[in-house]
């Protein structure tokens, strides 16, 4: 109750301040729109299907790119964690590559794939692959060895050992990495989409700029925040809660 009250007060104050600043007209409306203007832009965007299409296109891309990242990252991470040679050679490379902002792959992707979907997908994968890989590697190392031993002892080997033992055993240790990978994938996607006529949310955002329509710009920004938050807050939160219940881990407070 108290928490809800604080929540309402904070957002009401924020909203009030915004309205006040907009109504005072310190800046011209095309630079600083009112909340109503943004609301209207949102309504129009959904009414003429622009936003629906953009959301659909962007979500499809990020799901595909992120999915590929997770599969590749798990294989890579597991390989690096269980092979000394790979760890000593590739481990350092992976860490250093992570300091490269994913959009830096854009020029390379353009030359390799041309100005199309695949270039965007490539940037998304490069954005999230490394965090998933590093998380998997770390998770595999943190996971108590006894699970692997018990699994082998009970007759699991090869893919079965990975699927039924090593993967579930390392999940609590990699879920934060998976979450981070998602955040990177989402950011990389929007960035890449802003750079050409991609039909996605990034392009719609740039369209607002091209039309000098600040209300539309802010509306799309809100959409991007909301979508990222929904996935983070619903998908990953419930996954974490599920794991905590099973393992009996107390949630970090």
């Amino acid at each position: 109750m108290k928490r809800a009250a604080r929540f309402i007060i904070f957002y009401a104050a924020l909203f009030g301040l915004w309205t006040l600043l907009a109504e005072l007209k310190i800046w011209p409306p095309y630079l600083f729109p009112t909340p109503w203007g943004v609301g209207e832009a949102l309504y129009n965007g959904f009414a003429d299907h622009t936003y629906w299409i953009a959301i659909r296109v962007s979500m499809m891309r990020v799901l595909l790119g992120y999915g590929i990242s997770v599969v590749l990252g798990m294989i890579l991470g597991l390989g690096v964690a269980s092979n000394k040679f790979l760890e000593e050679t590739m481990g350092g490379l992976l860490v250093s590559l992570q300091s490269l902002p994913s959009i830096c792959w854009w020029p390379l992707a353009l030359l390799w794939f041309g100005l199309n979907q695949n270039a965007i997908l490539f940037v998304v994968i490069m954005g999230s692959l490394l965090s998933v890989t590093l998380a998997m590697e770390d998770g595999r190392k943190q996971m108590p060895k006894i699970f692997g031993q018990a699994g082998r002892n009970l007759g699991a080997k090869g893919f079965k050992l990975f699927w039924y033992v090593l993967l579930p055993a390392s999940l609590p240790f990699i879920v934060s990495g998976l979450k981070q990978g998602w955040a990177f994938a989402w950011r990389s996607l929007i960035t890449a989409e802003m750079l050409y006529l991609s039909l996605g949310l990034g392009q719609v955002l740039m369209m607002g700029r091209d039309l000098n329509d600040m209300s539309a710009v802010i509306a799309v920004m809100l959409l991007i925040i909301a979508l990222g938050y929904i996935v983070d807050g619903i998908v990953f939160k419930s996954m974490e809660r599920h794991l905590q219940n099973k393992w009996g881990l107390t949630p970090a407070s």
């Binding site: 108590p144 018990a150 009970l154 080997k157 033992v165 055993a169 099973k246 393992w247 009996g248």
Partner: protein, 316 residues
């Protein structure tokens, strides 16, 4: 030192004590699937045999350390053998070798006369703790080994129910591991091990982390389960009383390098209890010899800075 006798048979109420084969005796209870016609299960060939097992490894400071030195040991089918020794004698490592989770430097381990090559579900290891899978329910844990073997679902469910009943945990099939007490967890571990129907149960200080009352209770249960299922059990512990209370035979290992120092056949009648005077008396004999080794281990700890708790692959 390595001469073995057929384990002392203990009287089970209502059983014909003249039955010759331990296997047949348990089989007649209808509780186990010991197949006498299978090669190697006859009593002439030991269930588990260790021939000149040595293990050395490189410590972190780079020197080679001999952990196990030419261990010879034979365990008969249906026998309950306890291995005791000071910390650092490599007794846990020995179990890992038998389980096939690690390889010895030299020597050979055979089960039913066939050399051990890697892990196999005929030998299941029960760990001191944390060996259960926390992401699975109790029932799924017990089911795990059978699932890996590809046993059909309906059959697995029956077995899960049977073995959970055997360890008195039938009501907890749907619980998760963290919801159970330490003693219950070890019972799940025993049920999980038995459900894969191993010939040999390897128990690595399974009750060391439990409180005394729970441990007493589990001793009784283990003795009962052993006599009901007729498994061969190799049980590692640092607790001499526990070894004497449970074992047909107690094998004493020396401090590093681990060698078989002596063996004590335990002929006390079953069921036994930890506080039986005869158990205490026998334990005193074993302890007298063990004490020399403990002193040696303490000396080593004080002197050269050797850390006696390092055993390869055993610690996480």
């Amino acid at each position: 030192m390595s001469t073995q006798s057929v384990p002392q048979q203990f009287p089970i109420p209502g059983m014909d004590p003249s039955t010759a084969s331990t296997n047949r005796r348990y089989k007649s209870l209808g509780l186990i699937a010991v197949d006498d016609s299978r090669p190697g299960t006859s009593l002439e060939i030991p269930k588990v045999a260790l021939h000149d097992i040595s293990l050395s490894y490189r410590t972190q400071s780079g020197e080679r350390l001999l952990a196990l030195d030419k261990i010879n040991l034979q365990v008969q089918a249906g026998e309950f053998v306890c291995i005791v020794g000071p910390s650092g004698c490599g007794k846990s490592t020995l179990l890992h070798l038998i389980a096939g989770l690690h390889s010895q430097t030299s020597g050979e381990i055979t089960v039913d006369g066939k050399p051990v090559q890697g892990p196999g579900t005929d030998r299941i290891l029960i760990f001191q703790e944390h060996g259960l899978f926390p992401w699975l329910t109790v029932g799924e844990n017990v089911e795990f080994g059978m699932k890996m073997k590809g046993i059909p679902k309906a059959q697995r469910e029956d077995k899960v129910r049977y073995y959970l009943k055997l360890v008195h945990l039938a009501k907890f099939e749907k619980s998760y591991i963290h919801q159970l007490s330490g003693g219950m967890r070890q019972r799940v571990a025993i049920a999980r091990a038995l459900a894969t129907e191993p010939d040999v149960l390897l128990m690595d200080e399974p009750f060391a982390a439990l409180d005394a009352q729970t441990r007493d209770l589990l001793h009784d249960e283990l003795e009962r389960i052993w006599s009901e299922t007729g498994r061969t059990i190799i049980f590692v512990t640092h607790n001499v009383r526990e070894a004497v209370r449970l074992g047909d035979r107690v094998v004493l290992l020396t401090f590093r390098p681990g060698r078989v120092k002596s063996q004590f056949p335990i002929d006390l009648p079953r069921p036994r209890h930890l506080e039986d005077p005869s158990v205490a008396l026998t334990a005193r004999d074993v302890l007298a010899e063990l004490r020399e080794e403990i002193n040696r281990s303490l000396e080593a700890e004080y002197n050269a800075g050797v850390k006696p708790h390092i055993e390869p692959g055993v610690s996480a």
